[in-house]
Symmetry: C2
Subunit: 132 residues, 2 copies
């Protein structure tokens, strides 16, 4: 990317962030519905299983009602009693509303992900939250 385009994008990102109603100047607000999912692998030490799960998760971005994604693994933040770093992978998907989340839930791409990857995990926890 050339410098002019990079500068435009940086300025544009700032403008978009600032235009979100009620946002603090430097902070972006996101679509209303967030779908948090945490996965615990059956083989938590298998890098191959983790890579398969993350590759499967990335396919979910293709679903048309998905507005944003974050796929992660435990970060090396400070260990504290309240921090759970026992999970293997995390998923965030943003939707505009519960209808968008329902389209995702029933979508063939999501069903394919579950069919391909569910043998990899022993536990999954989902938290769906709406902006408040």
């Amino acid at each position: 990317m050339n410098t002019t385009r990079r500068t435009f994008l940086a300025a544009a990102a700032t403008a978009v962030a600032a235009s979100n109603a009620g946002a603090t100047a430097n902070v972006t607000t996101y679509p209303k519905l967030v779908h948090h999912v945490f996965f615990w692998l059956k083989n938590p030490d298998s890098k191959e299983d983790l890579a398969k799960l993350l590759a499967g998760l990335r396919t979910l971005a293709k679903i048309e009602t998905v507005r944003g994604t974050h796929f992660g693994v435990p970060a090396s933040t400070e260990k504290r009693d309240v921090v759970d770093n026992s999970y293997s992978a995390s998923e965030i998907l943003f939707f505009d509303d519960t209808a968008g989340q329902k389209v995702y839930q029933d979508h063939p791409v999501h069903k394919q992900f579950v069919a391909d990857c569910q043998h990899l995990w022993e536990k999954v926890v989902v938290y769906d939250a709406i902006s408040a």
Copy 2:
């Protein structure tokens, strides 16, 4: 906001989203470090306590290393075995990196939030994740 500015912002948002490496065309990717927190109130039926907690959470957006926020309550998505909707409030904060999260953790605004609000909750669970 006038139409020209609205159009610029929409185009700019699309450009920024598309410029994120590896992003699917319609999907935004987010800063690398996400700090997920779930709170269970001592008085889960108290709307006043929930409002106090949410007001406290919103102050965290003032911290200079916070890049994005989502504050929520359980969404009315389909009830499934894997969905935990027992929590009272959720918090997402995005940071560029673990150093940004550490600045937040030690920040006076964060400490004030804990001092003002910790009597409201009986349980808190934190998941810190880094992009993978």
